[in-house]
Symmetry: C4
Subunit: 257 residues, 4 copies
């Protein structure tokens, strides 16, 4: 088997019946490590330490090198697939969603580094999130999420509309009770501020930065909380049920073949 | 096709087999924008700025004009439906739930504006919530919510009764442990105050404005929290399940035809 | 129809095929009102006002009179049921769970009031919670809750054991990370205190009175929260599903007859 | 029946068709009590009181004695099972997972106590968590949890990957909006800190130690909360559904036999 053929089998997921090749597993590992480093790089207690700064620089250079090599290798072996053969085929390949994400994952930083910018620009770091796509390709049934979204379409829309209406109406109510009347609380002094309270309450996050203090506000708030937790959880329930149905059908279809 | 006929097809949802016409989509957009502006209009940091105040005035006048025209157009084209033909038919039309909501959505503010009140009265703004009905008409399966409520009737009642009993009994317990005994906490000094704690805890909102501080209070509170989150989530679960059953039956009935 | 016969049909739920009689509906209303007053009676801002104090006294006396009359009437008409006829039958009737609860709902307070104690003792007020039983009798499918509890038996036990083990192990972990090591936080200084944190976190109540502050504590806490919300919600899910199964079977059994 | 035979039937769960023997119930009780004492022993308000310290010492010694006796008895009667007969069989028995946990539950503390260390070392106390295994053996359907984990395998992986991606991307977004821009909040000053916020929000724990304060941060936070609660609850839902399926199949298999 030629190097090109063996690289093809290591790099292209579709070349395998199931599972993930060692090379792709390594790449997934590099992506996960790069997310860890992206997070650490922003921590002030670490960026003040020259040793960490150096470690970040070395790691980032290494990651960029790996992704550049990976991209070149993918481009090279893509020719083994008839639809991506030749120059036009390669252009087709490069404009695929996955290939664009692969390019965004290293090219902009590489260009800035070449121009002497040091890769320290914040915006460039955000582009690293494109590396998520590299992982998504290997998560089983990841595409079932999109199918579940389409499948639950109108029910999801309905339940979201109901949830958002409840948030809005609750906010208007509490704005009047706590902001306009009551103790004139700063935190309820406008509808947008009351919406912040309504979202925190109805999703049951309840940070505790905003809460009603008057008896009437607490009375309405209690009713809204008891009646509302179900309503705001409806979209999530609809989606979860569609996702689970989608996966069951896939399994049954797979067994039926 | 006459203007009246084409307006009828644009305005009346029942005139279309499915989907939403461009004119109705525009109206839904105006309603959504009017809710955004209703919220922004109450924000003190914006109402202090004359440019925003002017923007609000211009926008509100425009919205009122659009809804007035819409109401007139709906009233005009309603005659194409045999049951709303003639003067008596129009009266029937105007007393429908949807038509009353349409009228409430602009008429009171228009009257006050004509009398020189400027439309700035708070109560008038609340009437704008009637515009929600304009959107509800186009949310698919919105009416399934009402059917789900009726369908889950006695189960919903039972689970709500259990949930509210648990809230009350928990509040009485913690009132004795934390308010009467213990550290005599202000926040547990009466049963109504303890109910506020019980609602915040059992819905898992947990603002953090009230919580037990004595070991005994924390012991009971922990048991209540672990046993109770399921019980208070029961009504929501019953309703969600009835909603999902209702939608499945509708889909099956639709396919059966 | 004699007064005794007509009272029997108004008072005894089993005498009706379905629904609730007007007299029983009135009694349920009185019970609900008495719970509202029980709560208000403990509120310091009201007990300082002589008018409220008088209102409480009048209301309580009225409620006691109603429940005394109700008890006497129930005892009288019980004789229409063969199994409660005569003196021995009445004794049987009085030792039923429902009858004991009915007695506890008024007799102790009546005795203390007769002795001049004014009915103001706190312990006596708690006995009013026995009035909940008066309502429970009329909540449809209330007894399905007990059946659901038995039905989910061993699964509920398993999921509770898993949930409690997770709470305990999480508490021990955070006790070491935050209490013994780390910043020596007061709130994590012992395992019982850490259990309070674990319960608040895993039930997602999250009051915010206790939370990890060290990076390591937050790291473990995040893992525990993501993995744990499902585990601690398991008992609730098991119970809700058993409750819903029980109700479906009852409906099907009812239709099958 | 010989003592050995009767001890075998009391100690070995497999010797009974169902239920739990009195001796094993006693051991479970001792384990539960030892967890209670392990917790109390760390409470500073108790460890300052010499009477409590003595009670802890007496209790721990008693528990160690009981578990030592239990271990010896189990080792002795194991010979009644052909596969653990003789010296080699006993070695096999001692290297089973359950036997190792039984040994860890008392031996290290016994050794330290013999050496005069008093059993007060913290690390030794953690080893007491091995006693959980003693209970797990008697929780019905406990092993169904492992089966549910395997059964939900790839779906659980997918939903966890989606949940963690959402946590990471939300954290990066809020880091830019609140930490880099906005009010330069300390709590959002790095991605790891923002991850702490994202976990607390998306699991709906919401301690309230970190929350966005700028309008833009609150806007994104509200969208993330409403869309995200469903996504982060997906893994839990997938696992709960697999657990319930596993239990139903076991029941049906049991009835089918």
């Amino acid at each position: 088997m030629s190097l090109k053929q063996s690289l093809y089998e290591q790099l292209v997921p579709e070349a395998r019946a199931s599972g993930i090749s060692r090379l792709n597993l390594f790449i997934v590992g590099v992506v996960l490590a790069s997310f860890l480093f992206l997070a650490l790089e922003t921590e002030p207690t670490l960026t003040g330490d020259p040793r960490w700064v150096q470690a970040f620089a070395v790691f980032n250079t290494g990651v960029l090198a790996i992704f550049t090599l990976e991209y070149a290798a993918r481009l090279w072996v893509a020719g083994l697939d008839p639809q991506y053969r030749g120059f036009g085929g390669r252009l087709n390949y490069m404009t695929r969603f996955y290939s664009v994400a692969d390019l965004l994952a290293f090219a902009p930083e590489l260009v800035v580094m070449a121009l002497g910018g040091g890769g320290s620009l914040l915006v460039l770091r955000v582009l690293r999130l494109a590396r998520l796509v590299k992982i998504a390709r290997f998560v089983p049934a990841f595409d079932a999420l999109g199918a579940a979204l389409r499948r639950s379409g109108s029910q999801l829309l309905t339940s979201l509309a109901v949830a958002l209406s409840l948030v809005y109406v609750s906010a208007v109510l509490l704005y009047f009770v706590e902001g306009v009347g009551g103790e004139h609380q700063e935190q309820f002094a406008s509808i947008p501020r009351a919406i912040w309270w309504a979202v925190a309450t109805l999703t049951t996050v309840g940070y505790g930065d905003v809460y009603p203090v008057t008896p009437l506000g607490r009375f309405f708030s209690a009713i809204i909380a008891i009646a509302g937790i179900g309503v705001v959880a409806l979209p999530a329930g609809v989606f979860a049920s569609a996702f689970s149905d989608e996966l069951r059908e896939r399994r049954e279809r797979g067994q039926g073949q």
